[in-house]
């Protein structure tokens, strides 16, 4: 037993030494856990940004001009005045995401207290922004109209006041979300690539056979790869959390970072096992690379880190329940944003660990068989 542990340990140090020599992979690792997360967090914006807007002003009144002037950066580009006849063509050509149509006599109707109508044309194929942007436009128009009215007459105030507060991220700062999800995605990707590539490299160089004629079992070999690669990623993730996310990106962390990192450690067990699995089913590096891309994209897309799990159709949710990445994403969000403690997240920890264990057992069985059949 003691001998086996020492074998696993020394074999793992060999992995670390090999990685140290692989400058390309190291550079990729450093980039992924520093710059990549930073750029991804800063670069993406889930908010409406620079939305193009066109205005058909058939009223040409003071009020219509005020409305037109109420759209400004960063949410909207400067509105472009167009003719009513241009609307269809302009929208077909995707020149504008929104076109506001202010009808003739709009101001007069408002002043006289008669019903008035403004039409907002929305390019509903721009899913990311159309809905939120439409809400903004509605709010802006309403505000301008009521300001205009309050100058001319006093109308009854709203009957109920609605105060909306956002918990956990009061200003809706997209950096918080993007940085953490960036980290989660990098953890998945790098771990799988690192572990799988290490295995295939051994196979391609013939060293795996060399290992197998030593007093080592396939379990020892797999565990050595798992602990060493997990350690590397865990260190990288620790760096990314403390330096990139907390220090550079100024994301406040509600919960305990050590707890989050232990969540990472549990998840790494799964991700390394996946790496071993993929490194076993594929024979060559190119096959591995192609398979990794397919699997990683699916893992990332369906984990809830890109779009919420709730938005998936129910049958898909039933499937994605079996993705450890989904549970890891929920653990990460709960700890970092909501400040959840161990008592809140332990069921997810247990789920991930259980799945990881099952997966590891399967990967190991396959690994054994693949060695025997060569």
């Amino acid at each position: 037993m003691w001998q086996r542990l020492s074998s696993i340990f020394w074999l793992g140090t060999k992995e670390l030494r090999s990685l140290k020599r692989d400058k390309v992979l190291l550079a990729f690792l450093v980039y992924s856990f520093s710059l990549a997360i930073y750029v991804q967090a800063r670069g993406t914006s889930s908010d409406v940004h620079n939305a193009s807007i066109g205005i058909v002003d058939e009223d040409r009144s003071q009020l219509s001009r005020r409305i037109a002037n109420a759209f400004f950066e960063p949410n909207f580009n400067e509105p472009v005045l167009i003719e009513a006849g241009e609307v269809d063509a302009a929208m077909d050509a995707s020149r504008f995401m929104f076109v506001l149509d202010i009808p003739p006599n709009f101001e007069r109707h408002i002043v006289q207290g008669r019903p008035a109508e403004i039409q907002v044309n929305i390019d509903a194929t721009a899913m990311g922004q159309a809905g939120i942007g439409a809400n903004y436009i509605q709010a802006i128009v309403q505000r301008e109209v009521s300001r205009f009215q309050s100058r001319s007459d006093r109308s009854a105030p709203l009957a109920i006041e609605l105060v909306i507060r956002r918990a956990f991220n009061a200003n809706g700062n997209p950096v918080w979300f993007a940085s953490l999800m960036g980290l989660v995605n990098q953890v998945t990707m790098l771990t799988v690539i690192l572990t799988g590539a290490a295995l295939i490299r051994e196979r391609e160089h013939g060293t795996i056979e060399h290992l197998l004629v030593m007093p080592l079992t396939s379990l020892d070999i797999a565990l050595a790869k798992i602990w060493s690669n997990s350690l590397v990623i865990l260190l990288a993730a620790t760096f990314a959390v403390y330096v990139v996310i907390v220090r550079a990106l100024q994301v406040p962390v509600a919960g305990s970072i050590p707890l989050f990192l232990s969540g990472v450690a549990v998840y790494l067990f799964f991700a390394t096992a996946l790496g071993v699995f993929l490194g076993t089913v594929t024979r060559t590096m190119p096959q591995f690379a192609m398979l990794v891309i397919l699997i990683i994209v699916a893992l990332q897309m369906l984990s809830g880190g890109m779009t919420p799990i709730d938005s998936q159709p129910p049958w898909l949710q039933a499937i994605t329940f079996f993705l450890p990445s989904r549970h890891f994403v929920s653990v990460a969000q709960a700890i970092i944003y909501r400040g959840a403690g161990f008592s809140n997240v332990w069921p997810s920890f247990a789920t991930v660990a259980l799945m990881a264990f099952g997966f590891f057992a399967a990967a190991l069985a396959l690994f054994r068989r693949s060695i025997a059949s060569r």
């Binding site: 074998s7 020394w10 020599r21 993406t44 889930s46 620079n50 939305a51 193009s52 077909d92 995401m97 408002i110 207290g113 019903p115 008035a116 403004i118 907002v120 929305i122 509903a124 194929t125 899913m127 809400n135 509605q138 309403q142 109209v145 109920i160 006041e161 609605l162 105060v163 909306i164 507060r165 956002r166 918990a167 956990f168 997209p174 918080w176 979300f177 060293t207 056979e209 004629v213 030593m214 007093p215 079992t217 060559t284 096959q287 690379a289 192609m290 891309i293 397919l294 699916a298 897309m301 890109m306 779009t307 919420p308 709730d310 938005s311 898909l316 969000q333 909501r338 809140n344 060569r374």
Partner: protein, 919 residues
């Protein structure tokens, strides 16, 4: 023979102070040489002395770094000359079937080469038939090259080289790893060809010194320099040695003459020993292929037992069964009287194994390698240091202890491998071709170590080799061929049994006996009529030109065959894109519905219940539990049970009735900001409509002018993600997968070596690129079809606009994206790099800057320009336009033209970046 005197004057190849370096290593250190015309010239020397570099430089496949090389009366550095003479040169690179296509059949390979030289279908047929019957390959035109034996591969390689009647034939180690019979046949074949085409010069490199005797003229090389030139007899008499091997050793710089080239092996004590290895009826099958067929032998303790045979004859498989790496299909192997079970740890501690090729960690230093193995074999603590010190001294590794294993010369590396294999003092050593590629001196040194282990430490040594002179040093040998042991005895007894010649002749005789039962005539001799007639020099193949459709199509045809036979690439292309379509189509959705919410109702009045009712009635929200306190509210949010909490204050109803504006608070889970914004919008919407209802009921309607803001969701009235996402996703998949496959297909040729055919044949860069591109465009279009069918029938998103224009855009788009793949392939050199670089380069602009996340018109700065100059932008626009917006052909023509414009630009760039020679 008229004019022969004139030809001899002019050397066929002339090298003037040629220098070639790879990084810091010097492969050729200033070589000047005249190679006589019309002769069979041997380039001899062990691996890594620069033979292959010299060959590729002469073939024009490598860029000359320094010096001058004239081939066939012209400077090969000049492109014009290369283009002119490449049809007169044939080059067969090192490695069994290195420039052949393993997924193609024998005939298809030859046919491809024939097409490259512009031969008509009739001509190809004739030439191929003649070559195949001349080489004895005629019975197997449809066998895949991957299933040929090493000897057959080399014969096929020769056929491919001879298909265009070259004047200069370059063969780089054509017989390495080939069985002796095939080797003999190969040389006979070359002799016959030369007798028919005496004007042809042949330059052959070899590491087998014994083969060199048959050449007219020799060039002995070592460490990038020429040691000597001359006929074999000249070299032997020059050095006063009677064998070429001995002559070569004495030519080596610093070789001391007192050192006897012959290694002394003390006789083995003859008393009967226990058995170390016993194999009984060992058989191993891989599918229907029998790799090892009923092998029996017994090896005594302390014996050096040799396994002699060509590549792929089953030596390695037998050894793996003995070490327990592979379970036998039938039969039994036992070591020291115990049966070998796959995975038995106990046996492993008693056995040292050194696998074919260097298999230690080349990224570790010598010291680290030794320590790692000492630890893994659980050497006792105290012994480790002394054992490592002892081995370092014994194997002469002191000076290189801190060097990386990768940087060691081959001979030292093999010593390190051996040191590691015996670090745990095994009783038995299994060595799989430990000395292939090692120079004769290092090989002798290695053997000294082995002899010491066997005779002094009584280690049983089981060694495989394809060198005859090594086999002669063993106590006993087994001759192995095609999975069978032909004979097993002491080397001299074996040679005596077959007429008393040398071991090689004995082996050939054994193989002939074995094969005689299968094939009546295995080596048909050439008759004068069997070779293609080439009296008419005017039918010479056309020289290289800018573009010839036939050559481009030859590449297309070959590539299509390869794709269709490669399940991995086919699977990636079709199953991969279908799978990702499902993932993206269902996974990326911005729809937020059924938001889980809870209410902290501190009022419990009819008015508050009314307000809650409005939320529930809106269909956006789904009420979970009731909340009891502020703490409860926070906890529920924290545990992610709800995404929205509504807090209604006490006295809400009373204040509403009084008109004092009660305040309702909504808490939204802000973890995911974009989702939070959507939820916020829904809450505000429901709130506003509830107020309107209240006003209507209370009759206050007239108090406020009714401003109606009508939101018209164009193209997608129900505002569902699916109508926007599903047409967008193919744009991403069609850029990602075809470009990866395209890049890999070119880089794969670089990695496997078949790119050589592009370097040395008259193929132009444009022919190569376009030829390879065509099948991938076809493949992309099939993907497009599959994805479109999925869009329409699985996701239920119909094509409202012009489907025909969409198809046209798809064609232009796939041509553009495969062009991107070609461009990337020109600066990546490994398939893995090609996959990852292509992914990184294509994914970012396709997802971020092409209008999926936000329209290109709203992007700023670099992002905007990346979007403008990226084809996905236009295809995604066209796809969403044709599917969801219902745009007509004329409305989409702008996108189509933009996509078409990418083709010439990308093709030009890729052509410019592709090199017609190796660096």
């Amino acid at each position: 023979m008229s004019g022969l005197g004139g030809i001899v004057e002019m050397p066929v190849v002339r090298l003037e102070s040629v220098v070639h370096r790879y990084g810091k290593t010097t492969a050729l250190a200033g070589i000047s040489l005249d190679v006589p015309n019309g002769q069979m010239i041997g380039l001899i020397g062990p691996d890594g002395v620069g033979k292959s570099t010299l060959m590729s430089l002469v073939a024009g496949a490598k860029i000359i770094q320094a010096g001058r090389i004239c081939v066939l009366r012209g400077d090969i550095r000049q492109r014009r000359h290369r283009d002119a003479v490449c049809t007169r040169i044939a080059f067969m690179p090192q490695g069994l079937g290195k420039n052949l296509y393993t997924q193609l059949s024998v005939f298809e390979n030859l046919d491809f080469f024939g097409r490259l030289y512009g031969q008509s279908k009739r001509e190809r047929r004739q030439r191929i038939d003649r070559l195949l019957s001349a080489t004895g390959l005629a019975p197997f035109p449809d066998r895949l090259v991957g299933q040929l034996s090493g000897g057959m591969k080399q014969k096929l390689g020769l056929c491919c080289a001879l298909i265009h009647d070259p004047d200069l034939l370059l063969l780089d180690e054509p017989t390495t790893g080939v069985d002796p019979l095939s080797r003999q046949q190969f040389w006979e074949l070359i002799d016959d060809i030369r007798s028919q085409r005496p004007q042809m010069s042949v330059l052959v490199s070899t590491a087998y010194m014994d083969e060199a005797n048959r050449f007219d003229w020799l060039i002995a090389m070592h460490a990038g320099r020429v040691l000597a030139t001359g006929s074999p007899s000249q070299i032997k008499s020059q050095t006063l040695r009677d064998s070429l091997e001995a002559a070569f050793v004495s030519l080596l710089p610093g070789s001391t003459d007192d050192r006897q080239a012959t290694l002394r092996i003390p006789p083995r004590p003859t008393n009967i020993e226990e058995l170390a290895i016993r194999a009984e009826g060992l058989t191993r099958r891989f599918g229907s292929f029998v790799a090892v067929d009923n092998v029996n032998f017994e090896i005594e303790r302390g014996e050096i037992f040799g396994f002699l045979g060509s590549n792929g004859c089953g030596k390695t498989t037998t050894m793996k069964m003995l070490t327990g790496l592979l379970p036998p299909s039938e039969g039994r192997a036992s070591l020291f009287g115990k049966a070998v079970e796959a995975g038995s740890l106990d046996v492993r501690r008693r056995v040292g194994y050194m696998s074919q090729s260097f298999s230690l960690y080349s990224e570790l230093t010598v010291r680290q390698n030794l320590w790692l193995h000492a630890r893994l074999f659980h050497l006792p603590w105290k012994l480790r240091r002394s054992r490592i010190e002892q081995l370092t001294k014994q194997f002469g590794l002191e000076s290189s202890l801190d060097q990386l294993a990768a940087q060691l010369p081959l001979g030292v590396r093999q010593r390190l491998s051996l040191a590691v294999a015996i670090i745990h003092q095994p009783e038995m050593l299994i060595l799989d071709e430990p000395t292939s590629g090692v120079d004769p001196v290092a090989r002798d040194h290695f053997w000294e170590l082995l002899v010491g282990l066997s005779r002094e430490e009584r280690v049983t040594i089981f060694i495989s080799t394809h060198f005859m002179n090594e086999a002669e040093r063993c106590d006993r040998i087994s001759l192995m061929h095609a999975g069978k042991v032909l004979a097993c005895d002491a080397p001299d007894k074996l040679s005596d049994a077959r007429g008393g010649g040398n071991l090689e002749q004995a082996f050939i005789a054994y193989i002939q006996t074995a094969e005689g039962s299968q094939f009546a005539t295995s080596a048909p001799r050439l008759t004068p009529a069997t070779l293609p007639a080439n009296t008419d020099t005017s039918s010479a193949p056309p020289a290289a030109s800018l573009f010839r459709l036939q050559r481009a199509l030859a590449y297309s045809h070959r590539e299509s065959l390869e794709i269709l036979r490669d399940p991995v690439r086919l699977g990636f292309a079709f199953i991969g894109s279908a799978l990702l379509m499902l993932v993206f189509g269902f996974g990326i959705t911005m729809d937020v519905n059924k938001i889980d919410f809870a209410v902290l109702d501190q009022d419990r009045s009819p008015e508050s219940r009314d307000y809650i009712g409005a939320l529930i009635g809106s269909n956006y929200f789904r009420q979970q539990t009731s909340l009891y306190s502020q703490d409860d509210l926070e906890r529920q949010l924290k545990e992610d049970r709800i995404s929205l909490a509504i807090e209604i204050p006490p006295n809400f109803g009373r204040e509403l009735r009084r008109g004092t504006r009660p305040q309702v608070s909504a808490w939204i889970d802000g973890s995911n900001p974009s989702r939070a914004s959507t939820v916020e919008g829904y809450v505000q919407g429901v709130h506003a409509s509830h107020l309107r209802d209240l006003a209507m009921k209370g009759g206050h309607l007239s108090a406020r002018p009714d401003l109606r803001i009508e939101q018209r969701f164009r193209y997608n009235p129900t505002f569902q993600s699916v109508y926007a996402m599903v047409p967008s996703v193919p744009a991403i998949l069609l850029v990602l997968i075809p470009s990866i496959l395209m890049a890999v297909s070119v880089v794969k040729e670089k990695e496997l070596g078949s790119i050589m055919n592009f370097y040395v044949t008259p193929t132009s860069r444009l022919e190569f690129l376009l030829g390879k591109q065509i099948p991938y465009v076809g493949m992309g279009l099939v993907s497009f079809g599959v994805l479109t069918i999925m869009d329409v029938f699985l996701f239920g998103v119909p094509i409202k606009g012009s489907g025909l224009m969409l198809l046209a855009c798809a064609v232009a788009y796939i041509i553009a994206v495969t062009g991107i793949g070609l461009l990337i392939s020109s600066f990546t050199s490994s398939q893995v790099a090609a996959v990852f670089v292509t992914t990184i380069v294509t994914i970012l602009p396709s997802i971020q800057f092409s209008g999926l996340m936000q329209p290109v018109s709203t992007l700023e700065g670099t992002a905007h320009w990346m979007g403008v100059f990226w084809p996905t932008t236009y295809y995604m626009h066209a796809s969403v336009g044709a599917f969801t917006k219902g745009l007509t052909a004329t409305q989409l023509v702008g996108d189509f033209l933009a996509l078409v414009a990418f083709f010439p630009v990308l093709t030009l760039l890729a052509t410019a970046a592709l090199r017609k020679q190796e660096q």
